[in-house]
Amino acid sequence: MDFLTIIQILDSTMRLATPLLLACLAGLFSERAGIFDIGLEGKMLAAAFLSAAVAAATGSVWLGFLAGVGASISLALIHGLASITFRGDQLISGVAINFLAAGLTVIVGQSWFGLGGRTPSLAGDARFNPLEWPLAETLADIPVAGPLYAELISGHSILVYVALLAVPTSWYILFRTRFGLRLRAVGENPGAVDTAGISVVRLRFTAVIICGLLCGIAGAYLATGLAAGFVKDMTAGRGFIALAALIFAKWRPWHALYACLLFGFLEAIGNRYQSIELAGFILPVQFMQALPYILTVVILAGFVGKAIPPRAGGAPYVKER
């Protein structure tokens, strides 16, 4: 494996980690506020479809982006309605949202474009194109640092950088602002937050909407940045890998970045090699695909440091009468 191959794999790691990271941070906000969300997958899928559909129709990726984020936030509001307002089961609501998105994207897509659930391929301004950083061409010839700069740091779509910036931003919001303190408190002990005179319902809805926003960006990136158009079920379990990364990161933003990079790396390797020989053993590609899930189960089992979710997660809050 030469240097250029390594750079290429890392480059593809960045791209593949981006949707995971955005969805993972989305789940982070929601679950820190005490709303479990296994509907990340569905929200991403809906956003991916609508962003690609609107971008294809209007030729503007930014209009598509807005539509995608809007779709994702709408689903997030349904989740909020079910789990906050009507105090329903958050897990069941998440399952339903995943199916809703899986079904509606194909039905509407078939009706609009007649391509069996696909959208037309996007090109030009209908896509998020790579941003070339200054001097990337000139510096590319410098050994080691050149390709590193030109391939790995430069040349991604803007949403990749947004995702990376979202990590310190999320950390700052959650751990250095009053809002963040309250949001975390509402996931641990909503009763205390309520006693302090702060609306649990409003805080949780805010968290759910932030979750929708981030999932929307993730979905839009999938269909208009990573790929050039929507295909049926294109999230392909990424929402669940993001969920796995969230547990792996133990609900912390910086660790979420590391977990998503790791899982993105595994996917990049799996895409590139059919099987890997490691110390005499041949690891089949399916093993690489399953590895994020296996690692998550191991983490959940508490054999390698225990993952403890926010204490009030999953429980609807009933105000005292």
Partner: protein, 362 residues
Amino acid sequence: MDRMPKWADVLLIPLINLLIAFALSGLVILAIGKDPVVALQTMVQGSFGSTNGIGYTLYYTTNFIFTGLAVAIAFHARLFNIGGEGQAALGGLGVALVCLSIQWPHWLIALPAAMVGGAVFGAAWAFIPAYLQAKRGSHIVITTIMFNFIAAALMGYLLVEVIKAPGSMASETSPFPPGASLPTFHEMLAPLGIEFNRNTPANVSFLVALACLVFFWALVWRTRLGYEIRAFGQSESAAIYAGINPVKITVIAMLISGAFAGLMAINNVMGEAERLILNSVEGAGFIGIAVALMGRSHPVGILLAALLFGFLYQGGAELSLWENIPRELVIVIQALVILLTGALDGMVRGPVEKLFAKRKPA
């Protein structure tokens, strides 16, 4: 105590939920420029209008009874098993290994053996999440989701690399021996003088599924184990106080759940495909969630809900064939049913309770 009569709780509320789900789906059909009434006619005609349609409807129903029971038994212990998909896939492996192991002389011998194979493999796949939940407190919903993906990867690997039929292009096992072929409705009903379409996949597994419904009822409401499962589901602390071992009940409930899911394979793998193929479960594990929610985890409800989804599945296939409405419509209806009966239950229940309170002042 009860704010409304029992019939309203078990009949009225699910019916209202179902009506809302259908109404919303009708709007979806309208939105894509089709006629919902024609769509409904096509679905009813396609699923009940001929013995061919009925055969397919009952074939799907059989799958959903098994997966519905799997989710329901876990619900009784207040465990949410989303892993039916993976457990049914592994059940398929168990059934395939049994069917391919020897030249079975007769299906009456092969079927019980295959049932054991499917149930044991399905239960085994549910065991690790169950054990982790009971002993290590890892959330069973997350672990069962993860195990679905792990199962998909494992089955992919096995079917491509290990148990693939030699010389075959497709990722599938060799066909099962003729002795492991289950009688279809056509073969079962012909001696009785009833003509049933010979091409439908409905087979004797349907009767096994019905027997499982009775077994489920007896287990949950007529045995000590069932009592312990329900007590544990109602209140874990009270159950522990009464001397019920939470680890034991969690693991046993999940083992039974996995076994039901695994049993599904006698229908789709042994009865229909007669060999193991990739992605043989086709989402039936997830439909079990909707079936159990709608059927209120009761055998009668599960039978009716499974029939409903069998109808939707077969009707949906006809829709895509004749009306050019993608069969994903069924997934939308399924999503709405899960959302309304499972998560938005309070939305319908509140007003209905108020209505009854008004009519009968306490």
